[in-house]
């Protein structure tokens, strides 16, 4: 119970100081007060990726037959569905909770290894407590890079901890040793599965960036905003990415025209 109390204290503090200082100039609300520390952790994670995760994912995706890979993914997704159900309900999204519940029971017949709804439009969105907090108006807070786990922020880190309490496995598995083993195995499985499925995309993303840290930070923050709004831009904001950056932007050399002359020629 002490842990739960701690979580709610953090939650309370986050809500209090959530109004992160906006960058007055431009860019979305990138609030990264401990950037130097984050960059150190990021470099460590990147080394882990290069030395361990990437080779593992490569072997996994080349050596393991596709149907088995699908089963692994289905199983990991199935394990997460109780958390999705709980958070959908907390967001008042009974439709998504219903779909996830159906998947949980139907796929439970085959221990989650087969996704019986695939291709039948039975899908549901992933929801977690970080998103639930976002839906209820909690800002992201400081951007954080967690060792091994990767990009996060204050809100989503709290969400991760709270989601442990929504997970039936937490109560089914007794003894801290077994529980940790399961957490680690699951985390590893999810990481390898994700890396393998996005193998080329992530390699290209890394190879083409001038600042990989800044690129992933931007991607993480935008993606989480999109997940919180379930892909629907907030009211009054027209951009699909939920920002107003494009509305404000005018090419400096052709202020009253949307296209006009090429900037390189006007100087």
């Amino acid at each position: 119970m002490h842990r739960a109390a701690g979580v709610f204290l953090v939650l309370f503090l986050l809500a209090g100081c959530a109004s992160a200082p906006e960058e007055a100039a431009e860019g979305p609300q990138i609030y990264d007060p401990i950037e130097p520390v984050n960059r150190v952790f990021f470099a460590m994670n990147d080394a882990v990726d290069t030395m361990v995760l990437r080779p593992t994912a490569f072997v996994y995706k080349t050596a393991v037959p596709n149907p088995i890979q699908d089963m692994v993914r289905n199983f990991l997704q199935w394990l997460r569905s109780p958390v999705v159900i709980a958070n959908s309900l907390l967001q008042g999204d009974t439709d998504n909770a219903g779909s996830a519940t159906r998947q949980f029971f139907v796929n439970g017949v085959t221990a989650g290894l087969i996704d019986w709804g695939n291709g039948l439009g039975w899908g549901y969105r992933e929801e977690d407590f970080g998103q639930t907090l976002g839906v209820h108006g909690v800002d992201g807070g400081p951007y954080l890079v967690i060792p091994i786990i990767g990009p996060s922020n204050g809100r989503d880190l709290v969400g991760r901890v709270v989601d442990i309490f929504f997970d039936p496995l937490t109560y089914i598995v007794t003894g801290p040793g077994a529980r940790n083993a399961i957490t680690i195995a699951r985390g590893t499985g999810e990481a390898v599965d994700f890396r393998a499925r996005n193998y080329d995309a992530i390699n290209d993303l890394k190879a083409s960036s001038v600042d990989y840290y800044a690129r992933l930070r931007s991607i993480y923050l935008q993606r989480r905003d999109a997940e919180i709004s379930n892909g629907q831009p907030p009211k009054g904001v027209q951009a699909a990415d939920g920002s107003r950056e494009f509305d404000k932007f005018e090419p400096s050399d052709r202020p009253r025209s949307v296209t006009g002359e090429l900037p390189a020629n006007t100087n």
Partner: protein, 207 residues
């Protein structure tokens, strides 16, 4: 309702029925058609196994220049630093920017594995038109990727100014990344240009 009122009302309904679909048809639908056609052309290019190396890059560059407002995008991405950049820096920057896009995307052509492209709708957003689309992977129909296109219209011609993949704007991502490089190098624009050159060299090697 008098007969006259009825007649006027009827007339108004007729006019609105006649003009309304025409209006709805104009901008949004044309924008959709524009994106659908671009998707078709791009798919042809990706699946054309004869098209390799420099030829592939050249046709991609043409497609890019014809359909995207590259100077607009380049300026948006450089953001507040554009105003400070010298004419030489601007020119170098725009060249490097286009070049890195060409190499980044053509390098990924070979990863294509049968995905299809469909346009699903449009919305007006200020001076922009957003066209929604979906990339469907036949191997995993539930996991289709949502792509939004931001278009501006200039005398009947559309140009794309941003691509938003699953809520992630390419323009904003690049802008954040570039400004991080410039800011961490004491605001020097040349530091970004040097970095871009380096990355482009790597991309050339991977091509």
């Amino acid at each position: 309702m008098t007969v006259l009122q009825r007649a006027i009302f009827g007339l108004l309904v007729c006019i609105s029925l006649a003009t309304y679909p025409a209006l709805a048809d104009s901008k949004g639908e044309n924008a959709e058609k524009f994106v659908a056609k671009l998707g078709e052309t791009a798919l042809e290019m990706v699946t054309n196994k004869e098209l390799v190396g420099d030829a592939r890059r050249e046709s991609f560059r043409k497609l890019l220049q014809a359909n995207f407002d590259m100077p607009w995008i380049g300026q948006f991405v450089l953001g507040k630093h554009w105003r400070r950049a010298s004419p030489d820096q601007r020119e170098t920057y725009l060249k490097l920017f286009e070049e890195s896009i060409v190499f980044t995307y053509t390098n990924r052509f070979d990863e294509y594995s049968g995905q299809t492209f469909e346009v699903t709708g449009n919305t007006e957003a200020d001076r922009f038109t957003m066209v929604k689309s979906r990339i469907v992977n036949p191997a995993n129909p539930e996991g289709s990727v949502l792509v939004d296109w931001r278009l501006i219209e200039d005398s009947g011609d559309f140009k794309i100014v941003d691509v938003v993949i699953e809520g992630i704007s390419m323009g904003i991502t690049q802008r954040n990344e570039y400004s991080a490089v410039i800011d961490s190098n004491g605001g020097k624009i040349d530091s970004l240009l040097v970095k871009m050159e380096e990355i482009l060299e790597n991309l050339r090697k991977r091509a």
